[in-house]
Amino acid sequence: MSGLSIHSRLQLADFTLDARLELPGKGVTALFGPSGSGKTTLLRCVAGLARATGRVEVNGACWQDDSRGFFLPTHKRALGYVFQEASLFTHLSVRANLDFGLKRIPASERKVGREAAMELLGIGHLLDRGTDTLSGGERQRVAIARALLTSPQLLLMDEPLAALDAKRKQEILPYLERLHDELAIPILYVSHASDEVARLADHLVLLEQGQVVASGPTTTMLARLDLPLAREEDAAVIIDTTVLAHDDGYQLTRLGFAGGGIQVPRRPLPVGAHARIKIQARDVSIALASDHRSSIVNRLPARIMGFGEALHPAQCLVRLELVGTPLLARITRLSRDQLGLSEGMAVVAQIKSVAVLA
């Protein structure tokens, strides 16, 4: 059976984790939630580092099934684990750190070679260094490569960027995107940063107080009005698009998706390439008719699917749909009433700004 099937129950002194999840067997699944929601605990249970009761199955391989008294210890699970803080062995060089896991994998079972991993994470020049001479970002890249070299069937990442400053984060995110694009294995990614989730996650699990609040594709999860994600100050939706064409005169790139097309400042991407875009709720306004006298380029016909409360009482959230693609707009309640917006109405979504993520 393909996919991840996780059922973990763990009772701690002041906290109960009780999670049942069926997740896709490939791509990045983000475990998202406030601190103390049990994200890391859940990840540790999947790894066997914390002893929960329940069942863990990864693409057909059973790691734990307490109903028949089966529990595989961590070192026998085909997983890679990237810890939040630097976890390199300080008594070993970078090379020896990389080899620590690799040498325990029989040659016939190795799917990721040392060269490939080093190339993927850009660490070839660090091989003979001591771990104490590396920057935080370099350490984390070595730790990721070390985990990959065990040819895992599941990669677990516990806020791998949390201990890094914004600059290092930007330095390492492209490598994580490459992991996402080039690895065939599923990744469970713990995060409490919505920008990381927007960039990396295909699937999103929302945790609160040890419980799964919701689980689904990131595109739909971000646009759900009943989830706290939409109420965040920088609430946004993501849309996976394809590069359709470039306009050399105006230096624009046209991106297409199910609900229409969008133009962004020209990006160095080949036609046909995949591009994930993020549209923040605050950058979307609503008009009753397409106003050609507006400077806003991206005006798309949309339908109002519902309203929700925003953080500030002056504002409200409007969930729009562009033929199957959800979009969020944050407008004032005053405008909503003045325009007489109601569910089911056909309107024009005016998108002021689009961030191209990859």
Binding site: A47, G48, L49, P73, T74, H75, K76, L79, G80, Y81, F83, S87, F89, T90, H91, F100, G101, R104, I105, R146, A147, T150
Partner: protein, 229 residues
């Protein structure tokens, strides 16, 4: 002042005793320190206290009870007799056994602190990299605790070299068998041979200073029993 053959014999005996005891203590002390550092057993506190006893107990008290235990009526004495090993008091083997107990905390505690200081994380990391608990112990825990082992070996050795009370109670003063350096100094003083006593005492003084200086240079410890980081 020159050292007499008896002095040389005492020095040789002392170094032999300290080397054997240190080696045995590293072997016995490592699993004990590992257990003390990581066990959640309710016996942990009690065992830790027993291990630490020799730090606070007057050596004569310790020596007295060891003498009683190893004597013909004592449990250890009866065991060794039954095993055909004879009696331990007033033998070199008896000194080794007594010194093992006497110096135990000075070896166990630095190693224990080193194991505790490294925390759970390196062991978890090793497990996620497919290392079994035994492999993890040898390839991760031991190397990371190395400074603790250096401290433990030096302290255990130096402490055994300096013991007097326990030796007096259990070993007596038999040349070539139990007459260690501290006994020899005592003999010289008894015989009013202050020159000879100076020679050996100054030697021990310099030895102890060099050991502590070495420890500080290694940066192994802040104080004699601090965490071996």
């Amino acid at each position: 002042m020159t050292l007499t053959p008896d002095d040389w014999s005492a020095i040789r005996l002392t170094l032999e005793l300290a080397s054997i005891v240190t080696l045995l203590l590293l072997i016995i002390g490592t699993p004990l320190a590992w257990w003390l550092a990581r066990s959640r057993s309710r016996w942990r506190g009690a065992v830790g206290a027993v291990v630490a006893l020799p730090i606070v107990l007057p050596p004569t008290v310790l020596g007295f009870y060891l003498l009683v235990a190893m004597g013909p009526q004592g449990p250890v004495g009866q065991l060794t007799e039954a095993l055909g090993l004879g009696r331990l008091p007033f033998t070199f083997a008896g000194l080794v056994v007594a010194s093992l107990i006497y110096s135990l905390p000075f070896v166990v505690q630095p190693i224990q602190h080193a194991f505790m200081a490294m925390g759970e994380r390196p062991l978890e990391v090793a497990a996620t990299l497919r290392a079994s608990p035994l492999e993890t112990f040898f390839t991760v825990a031991l190397p990371l605790a190395r400074p603790g082992f250096v401290t433990a070996a030096i302290l255990g050795f130096a402490h055994t070299v300096g013991e007097f009370g326990v030796v007096l109670m259990i070993g007596g003063n038999i040349p070539d068998q139990t007459r260690v350096l501290s006994m020899q100094i005592y003999n010289h003083v008894e015989a009013l041979e202050y020159g000879q006593a100076h020679g050996l005492s100054a030697g021990l003084l310099v030895f102890s200073f060099v050991v502590l200086l070495g420890l500080n240079l290694l940066g192994g410890t802040r104080n004699t029993l601090g965490a071996g980081r």
